[in-house]
């Protein structure tokens, strides 16, 4: 408002006006309590307080509107919003931008790439200002003229930008609010930054300086400026780059200390004495986590310095059935085939036929016995992948007759006559976007376009709970590897943490600027990763809901996430066809794996963590040598962490396997390291 009054004052003083106008002006000044200006004006124009009182508010308003209206006529519709006092003229902006661009072009090659990163946010902000000022035509021309110079990955954003043609469009728009609310982060070497600052000061480009001050944040570091490739890998998200400050908080990426399995495996009777828990179907008592990797067994005696305390977040107690399952899993994993570049896995491919584009997701249970498939017609179909049939629980009368102490109570309570090889859940009222098996194998979660998450029981084959909380379609739901907790994410830009026994979320993770498209639990259950259409991957602490890592580099929405088995790395697959691998210890990019030609919707690490399998909509499965990748990363890290130098991703690619027009929906390594893949046949 000060700028407003300043504007009017200028207008009032320069040309001698009618007295009434002056009076109205004075009244306005008085209203805003600008004492000195008022006195000055009174003296200059010889107006007394008495005269002033005769002026009413209506006159002020008419004066104001006429003044502004004149301005509009005069400058072709300028200054309606009146945000910046000076320079709403499109030509001023364009000249300023052209000057800036010149400066960037002519700067030394080493600084050029870093400096060029400021261009995009400035283009966007100038566009907003022009639109706000009502110059939609010059604004469009401006972007069309300078847009093509910007990096190709900004293309989509520019397209979005040009959709906005009126001031009213600016409201309630993800993209606009993302650019307005948060400062666009640009990482720069100190040298580049000072060069830039000097330029801004020298040229006295106020419009640019204004934008820079308001909407740009420079994250400077000591050292040499980055190359084009280095700039490119980390930029591209809606908010620019991640600030280093964002990723300072310590992340306990290590795995939880495992229970001693030797005691579980050797004396089987030892289990019986603990058998005091006779409540087998309490859904909220999931089991302990599975033994996932070999290195863990070898060093389970030492405690990992990066691991969180095992009681950092309360985890559910392990039940006997869970322990039995664990023993089974352990026994299975002893038969595991070690995978590496010389011994590649076998892949069993499940093709869903006759589906006619109705399949939305597929999921295989941890023990590889069941598969759940979600459909657009809101049904969920569960198949048994083993000869074992899917059975229902016996009726209450029959259950009464069962000996509760029997060892095989779990099989006894199921009704053999109901065995079927596939069953269907009905309940949702919109496409089912994701399913998740509970680690204890008795529950299934599903999320849908109808904004609900449902919990289904494999005992009764019914829906047990409906979790309502999200207000918009829920894109993804994942169970914690320890059970009990689960995470979901939605169109409403939030990710949420739930427990199976409460219909309210425990945490709501806000911060993403667009849809949250996927979530994933860290193997130690202490963290949740989320990937979003704002092209960032974020890591949230379950304990306090804090954002602990923010990783930028994708150029498209992120549709799949996978934690490495060691817990330190996170792979994210995006619609930009790349898979990026992040080191969670510093939030740093480790590698960019580019081979696919379609969106990546599923990834899986082998059980020993040596191989990363990636499946895309381009009907290709790729296998990557993850152990080599991490080895090379660890051997060369320790150097400068702000400008990662990426190796050629081709060196990590082991093989790629095409399918017959069947895009990949899910990948899953069995405990013995057989890779299971699911795809829906695309009928042409």
């Amino acid at each position: 408002m000060s700028s407003n009054s300043g504007n009017i004052t200028n207008g009032g003083v320069a040309p001698p006006q009618e007295k009434r106008d002056l009076l109205a002006l004075l009244k306005l000044i008085k209203k805003y309590n600008l004492k000195q200006t008022e006195e000055l004006l009174c003296r200059e124009a010889n107006i007394t307080n008495k005269e002033l009182e005769e002026v009413n508010d209506i006159e002020i308003n008419t004066l104001l509107t006429s003044a502004l209206g004149e301005g509009q006529d005069h400058q072709n519709g300028l200054a309606v919003g009146g945000t910046g006092g000076s320079g709403n003229d499109p030509e001023i902006y364009e000249a300023a931008y052209a000057d800036l661009r010149n400066f960037v072009e002519e700067s030394l090659d080493i600084y050029k790439h870093e400096l060029s990163m400021v261009l995009y946010p400035i283009v966007v902000q100038i566009y907003f200002k022009l639109i706000n000022g009502g110059f939609s035509e010059p604004a469009r021309k401006f972007v069309e003229k300078y847009g093509p110079d910007l990096d190709h990955y900004y293309r989509d954003d520019l397209q979005n930008l040009l959709m906005i043609t009126k001031r009213s469009d600016l409201e309630n728009n993800d993209f606009v609010s993302a650019m307005e609310q948060d400062k666009f982060v640009i990482r720069m070497s100190r040298d580049s930054h000072s060069l830039f600052k000097r330029h801004i000061q020298d040229r006295k480009q106020e419009v640019i300086a204004d934008i820079v001050a308001k909407y740009l944040h420079f994250d400077t570091y000591e050292g040499t400026a980055r190359s084009k490739a280095q700039c490119d890998v980390s930029s591209g998200s809606l908010i620019g780059e991640a600030k280093r400050g964002d990723n300072k908080i310590r992340v306990y990426y290590g795995l939880l200390k495992e229970v001693d399995y030797q005691t579980l495996t050797t004396p089987a009777p030892a289990l019986v004495e603990e058998e005091d828990d006779n409540d087998p179907d309490a859904p909220d008592k999931p089991k302990k986590k599975k033994p996932k990797k070999d290195p863990l067994f070898s060093k389970k005696s030492k405690s990992d310095p990066n691991a969180p305390a095992s009681d950092r977040i309360p985890l559910p107690e392990m039940k006997d059935a869970d322990k039995m399952e664990k023993v089974k899993a352990l026994r299975e994993s002893s038969k595991r085939v070690p995978l590496n570049k010389d011994s590649l896995p076998s892949v069993c491919f499940y093709t869903i036929l006759n589906s006619h584009n109705t399949v939305t997701c597929a999921e295989i249970s941890e023990d590889s016995t069941m598969m759940a498939v979600g459909f657009t017609d809101s049904s969920i179909k569960v198949w048994s992948l083993t000869p074992a049939k899917l059975r229902e629980m016996k009726s209450a009368e029959l259950l009464k007759d069962i000996d509760k102490d029997a060892e095989d109570i779990n099989t006894r309570m199921m009704d053999d006559r109901t065995g079927e090889s596939s069953r269907t859940f009905y309940g949702h009222s919109g496409p089912v976007y994701r399913c998740a098996f509970a680690p204890e194998k008795n529950l299934l979660l599903s999320c849908s376009e109808d904004t609900t998450i449902r919990l289904w029981s494999f005992h009764t084959w019914t829906c047990i709970v409906v979790y309502k909380g999200h207000l918009f379609p829920v894109w993804d739901v994942r169970f914690s590897p320890h059970g009990y907790y689960f995470a979901s994410c939605s169109y409403d830009k939030t990710a949420r943490l739930w427990t199976t026994d409460s219909n309210q979320p425990l945490r709501i993770f806000c911060g993403h600027l667009s849809d949250v498209d996927c979530v994933q639990f860290h193997p130690n259950s202490n963290y949740i990763a989320s990937g979003s259409s704002d092209r960032t991957v974020r890591l949230w602490d379950v304990l306090n809901g804090q954002l602990v890592r923010q990783m930028c580099g994708h150029k498209g929405p992120i549709y799949s996430l996978a934690f490495s088995t060691c817990g330190r790395y996170l792979a994210s697959g995006s619609s930009d066809h790349t898979v990026l691998v992040w080191d969670l210890s510093h939030g740093q990019l480790v590698a960019s794996l580019l081979r696919h030609t379609g969106s990546i919707h599923t990834m899986s690490f082998s059980r020993d963590g040596n191989i990363l399998a990636v499946g895309g909509l381009d009907c290709v499965l790729t296998l990557w040598d993850f152990s080599k990748l991490t080895e090379e990363y660890l051997s060369q890290s320790g150097g400068s962490s702000h400008n990662p130098d990426l190796n050629d991703s081709e060196t990590y690619l082991l093989r790629s396997y095409p399918t017959k027009s069947t895009p990949f929906l899910a990948l899953h390594f069995t405990r013995r390291n057989l890779l299971l893949a699911v795809g829906m046949f695309k009928s042409s």
Partner: protein, 618 residues
């Protein structure tokens, strides 16, 4: 400059908006007569913006459904998310018009429903139930190697095979990265390559794995062996397996060498088997044969025009082989002819040269005519019709019963005449004007004239569809039957069937011996030539209509206590319908045999007596 940048920008993206005119049209359609320009412009911008946002949202739904194609349901969901009523009614295939009625101050929109006759619905039977969603599993990869099974895509797509054959440089460049592309390679090679930095030109691409060698052995043995069901499987495998391209050069060499050897040895059966292999390879959708045409075409041509293809030309039905090979050739020309290789032109030239030469052996002459016939009507018109008189002169003395002539030549002449009578009338019908005089025909075409004249008249009177030749359709029936014969003579001669064949079918079927598996054999009975000749002349007009009706099966050979199945060609295109012995008709060919031939049982049969190499086929 502004124009320039505008174009660049246009390439890049943007800024398509609905025009103000379309707004006005839409406004008019809902009864708003004169929409002011400003309002239309404002509306157009607003609507464009909103539509774009909706489509953008719809794309999110598309992505989460893991599709790459936007569907109507995505738009509906995007509308729903923005609290807009979805657009109903777009899922129906047909336009469903709303009717409007009003009365008593109330308005009603409704869909008009047709009256339907329940009887129709009941009688039409239930529509087919859509297939249920099913799960099917297969091995995509076994120990890092993708097996070449029909469920998996061919290891080398047809396009890249084509590229390779056109531009060999591509292959050399690929060599380095190739093993990453899931090509079957042994682990050893893989390991070595990781270590070595020098890229030696790879020999491995021509190396067959042990499995492939076994497969090759099995397949080739089965294809030329004695076990007919096994051959069927082998040919089926050749026709459908996706991973054959690695051993394709060997297969082609096998065929080419086989033809060379067996032509010299006059081993008709083996030649037929080899041609069936060619056929199977041509049928395989994942193979790109262009690279091997230089081996295949000479082989096929040999089987069409070779002077002698069998031990006893007067008895064996090598004509069927020539017909079958001709059809193969036509198929090859159709599939692979390009403006650069001029395949069809070159092949046609070979055949037409044989026609020009008056020294050409009669069998070769027949082959050349057959080959040209299969190329289509235009080729017949340009190359055969002008030579008709010449051919007539050659066959005339042979057919007109000069006792000095050998049987072989006489048979050949008979076949040539039959072939010409089949292929020429449809063309003649079009190039000659209507009143057909026998004399003119005799003048123009010599000895063949009168018969052709009859045929043309007949063709003019008949409904057009029956007279059009269908050379492109290729069926195994004749060749199998012919392959079976190898020891028979000439064309089918069905005794005493003088009514039309069509009416004869039911009876023929009815008398088929129940204990005799129909595919067990095929016949061939050829009339003793002389008598047949005479009779043929008597009933020439019938013959032209359907060749099967040639009269007179007087079996020369001693009858065996088996029954004979006589196959005759219904559509007459095969021209063989020949006598056939058993067991060569494989299972996969059954369908085509049934559709193309009638199986007739007669009371007599001949075993294929003097067939050394075919004796195992019993």
């Amino acid at each position: 400059m502004s124009i320039n940048t505008g174009r660049v920008a246009g390439d890049m993206l943007y800024g398509t908006t609905l025009s103000a005119e379309s707004m006005k049209v839409i406004a008019e359609s809902i009864g708003v007569g004169s929409l002011p320009d400003d309002a239309a412009k404002e509306l157009a911008e607003d609507v464009s913006f909103k539509i774009k946002r909706i489509v953008q949202d719809a794309a999110k739904f598309m992505h989460h459904s893991k599709r790459e194609r936007l569907l109507l349901s995505d738009i509906d969901q995007a509308l729903k998310v923005r609290n807009i009523e979805p657009q109903y009614g777009f899922t129906a295939n047909d336009f469903v018009p709303f009717r409007f009625a009003s009365g008593g101050g109330r308005e009603l929109h409704f869909i008009e429903e047709k009256e339907m006759d329940l009887n129709d619905i009941v009688q039409s039977g239930a529509p087919k139930v859509p297939l249920d969603i099913t799960l099917r599993s297969h091995w995509l990869v076994v120990d890092g190697i993708q097996p070449t099974i029909p469920e998996n895509p061919p290891p080398l797509s047809k396009d890249s095979q084509a590229l390779e054959s056109v531009n060999p440089v591509v292959k050399l460049e690929q060599g380095v990265t190739k093993d990453a592309a899931g090509k079957p390679a042994t682990g050893k090679i893989h390991k070595l390559r990781n270590v070595e930095t020098v890229h030696v030109k790879q020999l491995a691409t021509h190396e067959l794995s042990v499995e492939q060698q076994l497969y090759y052995k099995e397949i080739t043995e089965a294809c030329v062996g004695s076990d007919e069901p096994r051959r069927g499987e082998a040919l089926q495998s050749l026709a459908s397996d996706p991973g054959l391209h690695e051993m394709l050069p060997r297969m082609c060499t096998f065929i080419a060498e086989g033809v060379k050897v067996n032509v010299v040895q006059n081993n008709l059966a083996l030649l037929i088997y080899l041609m069936r292999m060619v056929r199977a390879l041509l049928d395989n959708p994942s193979l790109y044969l262009e690279k091997y045409l230089h081996e295949l075409i000479p082989s096929v041509t040999t089987c069409i025009v070779s002077k002698q293809l069998c031990m006893r030309p007067e008895l064996d039905n090598h004509w069927a082989l020539r017909d079958f090979a001709s059809r193969l050739m036509a198929m090859i020309c159709k599939n692979f002819n390009t403006s650069t290789n001029n395949l069809q032109t070159r092949v046609t030239r070979i055949f037409s040269k044989a026609l020009q030469n008056d020294k050409t052996h009669l069998s070769s002459l027949y082959g050349a005519i057959a080959g040209l016939t299969e190329m289509g009507a235009e080729v017949v018109k340009v190359f055969i019709i002008p030579r008709l008189k010449f051919i007539s002169e050659r066959i005339e003395p042979l057919l007109l019963g000069n006792q000095m002539q050998s049987n072989t030549d006489k048979t050949a002449a008979g076949h040539i005449r039959a072939m010409l009578q089949k292929c020429c009338p449809p063309v003649l019908k079009q190039i000659r004007r209507s009143p057909d005089y026998t004399e003119e025909y005799r003048n123009d075409y010599g000895f063949m004239g009168p018969a052709l004249c009859q045929a043309v008249i007949k063709a003019r009177n008949a409904p057009p569809s029956t007279t059009t030749p269908t050379p492109s359709s290729i069926s195994n029936a004749p060749i199998t039957s012919a392959a079976a014969t190898a020891s028979t003579v000439g064309r089918p001669q069905v005794t005493q069937i003088n009514s039309s064949v069509v009416t004869a079918i039911p009876q023929l079927r009815a008398i088929q011996h129940p204990s005799q598996p129909p595919q067990k054999f095929v016949i061939v009975s050829q009339a003793s030539t002389q008598q047949a000749q005479q009779q043929q002349q008597q009933v020439q007009h019938i013959q032209q209509h359907t060749q099967q009706q040639q009269v007179a099966a007087i079996h020369q050979r001693p009858a065996t206590p088996q029954s004979v199945l006589l196959t005759t060609q219904l559509n007459g295109s095969g021209g063989s319908g020949g006598s056939v012995t058993n067991s060569l008709l494989n299972i996969s060919d059954r369908a085509s045999v049934d559709s193309n031939s009638i199986i007739i049982e007669t009371e007599e049969i001949r075993a294929p007596p003097e067939l050394d190499d075919l004796s195992h086929l019993e």
